[in-house]
Symmetry: C2
Subunit: 220 residues, 2 copies
């Protein structure tokens, strides 16, 4: 299920197209809300139908399949953030500042959509090759390339030491995702029931401090 | 389902007890293998029964429930590592060295049992409160306390700056887990099909270098 296929399913005339978009949005809203509340990506058509009040046959009509729905949800949630990341790479600010802003950006994204990273991993794991490849190229590779560009810029300017961008990518994403993924442990072990913006920013600050100090050349 | 309940289910005489242990082991082996191969924690009694050749009624007999089985799997996989972690904290070596060994220890554990962290999170999220609390206390809090002790020792000796142990815990676990959780992206984006011991150690080395540099006092 590619985005062009999804687009073709939209009705041709303006009024119907607008209704269709709104049904799509309601379905995506319901899916995202269920995933956030349950701290899971395991949400059924029946759950989505019940939550949205929309017949589950319409999910198939609008998204073709579960994977089509999940792909559309990722696009809705994260599309703009990846464009922001491309812009960040091109900004005329020091690479340390780019990396710090990048960490804050990931944290804001996962705070708003705590299921997002797991959804990306699942679509890459469980889908037919075509969707997995599309997701890998559109999101993971794009993030990897942006990080690579910032790391190279920092190495060239002497601000960073040389690190493996592959290892760096997974470690950074994992470090940023864990507090959202482990929400239940946060509650059981630390009594923290909710991650508010203050905690999110404290978390982003500590992770970016460790990462930036860890990237400094050893001689410095 | 607590461990004492599981223990009570074992037959009383020696021969039967040994047979029971072996059936238990076969069931745990099958569950772990299915989770490793599928890169998922979503494994059904039917899958386990088919893989092990053991009637699914016996899963219920030996473990009481799915959660009892998962709890036993965590205990089998990770029990010894947590004892090793307690010993590590008490060793007469510098805190930097303890932290480095700890990162390598987590990586070895996740390399061997790539589903382990997700399983811990799931049992803490989806179980009745009693199991969730037991898992949180036995594993998560124990790891947090060990990390806290190493961080405090490092702060006292001047080797580390002050960091929030809660944030540190989740970031470190997430950083170590991500490359195993994201195995599919590793394949799609980097063409890495398998994480061998060399890659695991390269990963542990880079993560521990970043973490240790990131923990250094700012004045240094």
């Amino acid at each position: 299920m590619t985005r062009s296929t999804t687009a073709r399913r939209k009705a041709p005339n303006a009024k119907t197209a607008s209704e269709a978009r709104s049904t799509r949005d309601l379905l995506l809203d319901a899916t995202g809300a269920l995933m956030s509340e349950g701290n899971t990506t395991n949400v059924s058509f029946a759950d989505i139908s019940q939550r949205s009040g929309i017949n589950s046959a319409l999910i198939r009509y609008h998204f073709g399949s579960k994977q089509g729905l999940l792909e559309a949800l990722i696009e809705r949630d994260a599309g703009a953030s990846y464009e922001g990341l491309d812009r960040l790479v091109g900004l005329a600010i020091p690479p340390e500042e780019k990396m710090r802003k990048h960490v804050y950006g990931i944290m804001r994204l996962y705070h708003q959509f705590p299921y997002l990273n797991r959804l990306l991993i699942e679509l890459q794991s469980q889908s037919e090759t075509e969707i997995a490849r599309h997701i890998s190229e559109t999101y993971t590779r794009r993030a990897v390339n942006a990080q690579k560009a910032i790391l190279e810029e920092g190495f060239a300017s002497g601000a960073f030491r040389k690190v493996d961008p592959m290892i760096f990518h997974f470690a950074l994403v994992g470090a940023c995702d864990a507090i959202f993924h482990s929400r239940s442990a946060l509650d059981h072990v630390f009594g923290v029931r909710q991650i508010d913006e203050t905690l999110r920013d404290r978390f982003a600050e500590q992770v970016s401090e460790i990462v930036l100090a860890g990237l400094k050349p050893k001689a410095a």
